[in-house]
């Protein structure tokens, strides 16, 4: 049996996990998971002709150093991380050939929090409920349900060799990164006029409590306390208001149900931006209508599909 191509983790980075498009098993209490910046995940995969939901590495704030044991075609999309291939520069937002024996080192980023590294062929990992995403809290999926550590070995599937395009993804499709960001939100039936005014207007600061489950804001708003509120399913991007009044913006690894007041939900189009928030960023919440949210999502999707189609066309013709 032939060993699949692989890489070794020389330095794991701050929090590097295997992620893909996530799972759909909320009805069983299983969080969605998946890359926190799904646009970066789609574009990184398209750049190396992977399916949009192929598994790759999500790097957080400080990236890993990866030594490749086989030739590979990779791409890194997301926050503007510094990266080097051996001693040379490693550009983001394009397909890059890595040779066997080379080391890709990803360092920090001045803005934003996350990037997605795609490897042509897709990374292997434990598949649970149809996804290889790492669930850190329940410890399953990806690589033993945990973040990478030094010495880990990751492998991927062999695809026929190709000539990568020289094109790169333009900045208009890069997910916005801080330090000043605006998230479009929709009011829920739990949003009283007072709550809306308190949440949509002031500038909030992202606190140190920011992980793949959620981002806590530092400031306090007057929170209604309703001990009788029953647990309800959390939609992606739900903005919860616990009794202490510090809002929590829920990310992909959040629990499926929650008992706290949920006055707002972040518009789907801005979920990638939510995934790029880091401690210290300043964020404003701007209420929009359902129609405006959908129109913005459709505009972005047209642009994304345009890039995906162009890359697919290149690979089919090359």
């Amino acid at each position: 049996m032939v060993e699949p191509p692989s890489l070794t983790v020389e330095r794991p980075g701050l929090l590097t996990t295997v992620q893909d498009a996530g799972r759909r098993a909320r009805a069983l209490g299983v969080p969605e998971g998946g890359a926190a910046d799904p646009v970066a995940r789609r574009l990184a995969n398209a750049l190396v002709e992977n399916a949009a939901g192929a598994a790759g590495l999500e790097v957080t704030l400080g990236g890993p150093a990866l030594r490749f044991h086989a030739d590979a075609l990779v791409s890194l999309c997301g926050a503007p991380f510094e990266a080097r291939l051996d001693d040379g520069p490693f550009p983001l937002w394009r397909a890059v050939v890595v040779r066997a024996g080379q080391t890709l080192s990803i360092f920090g980023t001045p803005r934003g929090a996350r990037a997605f590294l795609a490897v042509r062929g897709g990374l292997h990992g434990q598949e649970v409920f149809g996804s290889r995403s790492t669930d850190l809290r329940s410890r399953f999926g990806g690589l033993e349900g945990r973040a990478l550590k030094a010495g880990d070995r990751l492998s991927w599937s062999v695809l026929p060799p190709v000539t990568p395009p020289h094109a790169f993804v333009g900045p208009d499709l890069h997910t916005p990164t801080g330090p000043d960001l605006t998230l479009r939100v929709l009011a829920t039936p739990e949003a009283t006029p007072d709550l809306l005014a308190a949440l949509c207007g002031p500038t909030f600061t992202v606190s140190g409590q920011a992980d793949r489950m959620g981002v806590r804001l530092g400031e306090v708003v007057p929170a209604p306390h309703d001990p009788t509120r029953v647990s309800l399913p959390n939609p992606p991007g739900a903005v919860q208001l616990p009794p202490d009044g510090r809002p929590i913006l829920l990310l992909s690894d959040a629990g499926t149900h929650g008992g706290y007041t949920t006055p707002l939900v972040v518009a789907r189009v801005d979920l990638p931006t939510l995934g790029q928030l880091r401690p210290g960023d300043r964020v404003r919440l701007r209420a929009v209508t359902l129609e405006a949210a959908h129109a913005a999502l459709r505009r972005r999707e047209r642009a994304l599909r345009g890039v995906e189609a162009a890359l697919s066309w290149w690979y089919k013709g090359a």
Partner: protein, 227 residues
Amino acid sequence: MPPSLAGAAWDDGRMSEEGRTTPPEITPLGDAALVVRSPLARELLADLMARPLPGVREAVPALRVLTVLYDPLTTTPQVLTANLAARLGGLTGQAGGKGRTLALPVTFDGPDLAWCAGRVGLSVTEFVRAVCAAPLEVAFLGFTPGFAFLTGLPEELKMPRLDTPRERVPAGSVALGGPWAGVYPRETPGGWRIVGRTDAVLFDVNRAEPVAWRAGDRVTFVDVTDG
């Protein structure tokens, strides 16, 4: 040890006239979800799983609530609302699903056991007997993998939640909170009153069916405190 299957299944007869006469309430939640409030929520979930609607990504149950996550690029809330209302209109209110019966072995030695018994004026032995006699049912799954919201506690056994949740509740803790009983599948924070613990493995990704229970299952706690 997983919860044992004690065989019998029986019809869920609760959804009688109520389901057919209450008009469904369907409201948006953000720009990619609709909330359906109906006594037929669980039956609607089964129907959507058997016959998926275009654009529906997932349907997530709670008590008499079904949250439907949709793809706004594939369908619109108007079309989906009409489709869901039509589906609800076609449900009989009878087929709530045939639940299994699970017997969960519980060691009653939790830190809140004496407090709970004292609150309702029972001895610990009488309290444990009453909890084990309660006809519990899995209302829905959620919160964390393997966690089930169990309904069916008699009024006098409903316990107020802790004012300040514990930061760490050990895996396997059996707890009462508000109208619910539940078992924490793994260590998490938690605000319910812990009355006991179980060795049952409620979530294991290596099993064919990773989650030990399904909505509609009947559950009884079996006292194994003395071995």
